[in-house]
Symmetry: C2
Subunit: 461 residues, 2 copies
């Protein structure tokens, strides 16, 4: 009967000194209430709210396709943004970093149209029996479709039989180039429901397929998400619903002049979770001149990188510590003799115990400086608890957006860059954008300085 | 005779509208001049300036030790912060992400006292002939020495003969527990010069050893660093020295209310470089209530994650785009027929060409919104050009710190957290700190909310 997640808000206001009974959130009460009503009403039917019911969807199709993928020796998945970050997050959190060195199935995510990375992936798979998975909601994402074309052609040159037998596309059920390809070739496919945007798609086949193929218990993941869904829907009291509480805090700190939201998990397996959160947060909430910038940290590593700044730099951040329990500890040997006696305080302690105390020590150091933070305890890291955490952050992000009076499901600010790219790539209909992009770039490039010369440069001194 | 690095400043001021001849940097001219004088004077003898001459140091000892490491099947390196980030940066940039799947020598960096990660590493190496490398300047870093003790004990249980034959420590030449261990056991060691701090140590044996063992041309890396050193020392004109120019810009934007410094490389091989930069920047400059927060981005991936916020959120960032050339391109096939005809604009183009144009398009989109940025062109990514870039950022960071009138080589803000950790771990002499940390943590923990219950929780709906 333990909760898997527990939220501590005691230092969340930072340096504010309150009189007894004073509530800095009185201002936000109507917004919290309205945000919860809106969540219960499925966003009043607004486009992009389909993520909220993904935990109720059957994953039988995912499990069947995952079984098929496991009949290969390797998988290359092409995808970017919401079609990649969730995959990497699930794999690292639940399978670790070395899954390719251990398991029978090798998995490579071609998430960037970078020739060096693409060539490196191809070199790893070209001599193996390989499946190609393409993930793009729209089916037109330039970075993804280009890599799809490239890998497909390489495979066609090396295999007998139709390449379509090795392709699976995860895309919109009805629209786009990928769906047309499925319809014409009859290759395998899975749907990303139409009303689910990329950054909210990790609990759809977009995020689940590769995880299931590599051995993640996706049913437990969805079960955790369902638990969190029931809990957050059922709890409309803004004082005891942690998502409503945290949403108000984020809004409060943005207004207090703290433009950064640090996410600081204490587990190497949650480094990619911080990346996933950063996309969800930035793309949902950074619009119309508003929005806090997500900062990805990792404990204990960033104690030796970012904590100096967090403790002693400007008071411009609101931090979320995520502490993870439940891992079997590794005990350190007793240290008695020289020359290592200076380390005797470590003897008999555990590595996990140390990590845990470092998290407390760092949070205490921030609190003692009046820096605001919340603390989340995760009873253990497994598929079910991760499902809870994922769904909690999706609801939190959506509700913060609602409280900011913006649409957390669109991304209007990326359109100009896309048009400029199409223009510079010579796509028909985008000629004017090419001219505009070149004019802007000429201004950037207008004033240059050069570093040391290459080739014949002499190194003196 | 091409320069390997080229700096474009044309959009660096953002939305500022200047009258002809107006120079927003007039204010910074005396500071720039003084910072350059200080750099030439080796920091006026201040502690921690030893990094500046590392490129002049012979790396014969590193090459010899690297040869010895290559006689093993696997290497576990324990280290954190400046004893880890530089290693990962060099490996990824110059060898790619899959070096463990390809090469004869497996390398694992135990950079976090996280039991799950440590156990995963041990499982990969326990049946191999493995060397243990410990990297800690002070020889007392708790996260590093604890993992050293743990791995050493595991190895002692599994091998015949003295474990010291498989240990190499990289540490201060004279002081600390690691040095005492070297002196007593006679195991191998390499020095981190006394006047070099962790985050400035990548061009010392701390960063070079593992890179050399895995096949990085560390002599070319140091050659590039020497070239940049000569160039930046020889060029005292603040108008043509790009480090002086960029230092003033960073200071200017901090004063203009832009608290974030985005580093946005367009190469998957520079993701870890952004992490390395983030430590250098944050720990050197975040102190006394000053300092901008480094933001690690990656092109093109963060176009689908952070660019919405950068373009359409608050105008609170100063961005550095790093464009990398020289990679052999991968050509896309012509697309003529349905159903893929919607992708015909990609036919005959290259993946690298697309990545390059996306970088331009994204920079142009930011510039068109009046967001300030600089653009660095890297002719190609190899050991020599990376050596130039590393040394450039070290000098830049140090000079920005000098212009901020702070010491860029200390980290006073992390001491309290360390004392709290020692206290919570029961180390003698830190009892009062334990009490203080517990008091602060009790305040954090004072007000809690619980998520959905685990174990018997029922999923309704």
């Amino acid at each position: 009967m333990n909760p898997l997640l527990r939220f501590s808000f005691g230092a969340s206001l930072g340096r504010v000194v309150l009189r007894p009974g004073e509530d800095p959130f009185a201002l936000y009460e109507p917004l919290q209430t309205e945000a919860h009503r809106w969540y219960l009403a499925e966003g009043d039917g607004s486009a992009g709210f389909g993520w909220a019911d993904l935990p109720l969807r059957s994953c039988d199709d995912v499990l069947e396709a995952a079984g098929w993928l496991r009949s290969f020796e390797a998988v290359v998945q092409v995808g970017i943004g919401g079609s990649a970050l969730g995959n990497l997050m699930l794999h690292q959190a639940l399978l670790g970093d070395t899954v390719n060195e251990r398991g029978p199935l090798r998995f490579y995510l071609a998430d960037n149209p970078d020739p060096a990375k693409v060539r490196e992936i191809w070199d790893r798979v070209k001599d193996r029996r390989t499946a190609l998975v393409g993930v793009s909601k729209s089916g037109s994402t330039a970075e993804t479709t280009s890599q799809f074309l490239w890998f497909k052609e390489q495979m066609e040159c090396r295999i007998d039989g139709p390449v379509g037998d090795r392709i699976l596309l995860v895309t919109d059920p009805a629209e786009g180039v990928f769906r047309a390809y499925v319809n014409q070739t009859g290759c395998r496919s899975l749907p990303i429901p139409s009303d689910v945007g990329g950054r909210y798609s990790v609990l759809s086949p977009s995020g689940l397929l590769s995880a299931a193929a590599l051995g993640v218990d996706v049913e437990a993941l969805l079960c955790g998400a369902r638990e969190m869904r029931s809990f957050l829907r059922g709890c409309s009291d803004r004082r005891i619903n942690p998502a409503l509480r945290l949403a108000a805090l984020h809004r409060y700190h943005e207004r207090q002049g703290r433009p950064m939201a640090v996410f600081f998990p204490y587990s190497s397996r949650l480094e990619r979770f911080a990346e996933w959160y950063a996309q969800l947060w930035a793309e949902s909430l950074g619009k119309g001149g508003q929005g806090t910038t997500p900062i990805r940290a990792l404990g204990a590593i960033d104690q030796h990188s970012q904590v100096q700044l967090y403790v002693d730099g400007p008071d411009d951040k609101f931090a979320t510590f995520l502490h993870v329990g439940g891992e079997e500890d590794l005990l350190l040997p007793q240290v008695v003799d020289e020359p290592l006696r200076g380390l005797s305080y470590l003897g008999g302690r555990g590595l996990g115990e140390m990590l845990s105390r470092e998290a407390r020590a760092t949070a205490a150091a921030l609190a003692s400086r009046g820096r605001p933070l919340v603390w989340i305890d995760m009873e253990r890291l497994d598929a079910r608890s991760l499902g809870q955490l994922v769904y909690f952050y999706e609801v939190l992000t959506a509700m913060v957006g609602r409280m900011m009076d913006l649409n957390p499901f669109d991304q209007p600010g990326v359109e100009q860059g896309k048009r400029y790219t199409y223009g510079l790539m010579g796509r028909k209909g985008f000629e004017e954008h090419a001219v505009e992009a070149q004019e802007w770039f000429a201004r950037i490039d207008g004033e240059t300085l050069e570093g040391p010369l290459g080739e014949d440069a002499e190194v003196t001194e």
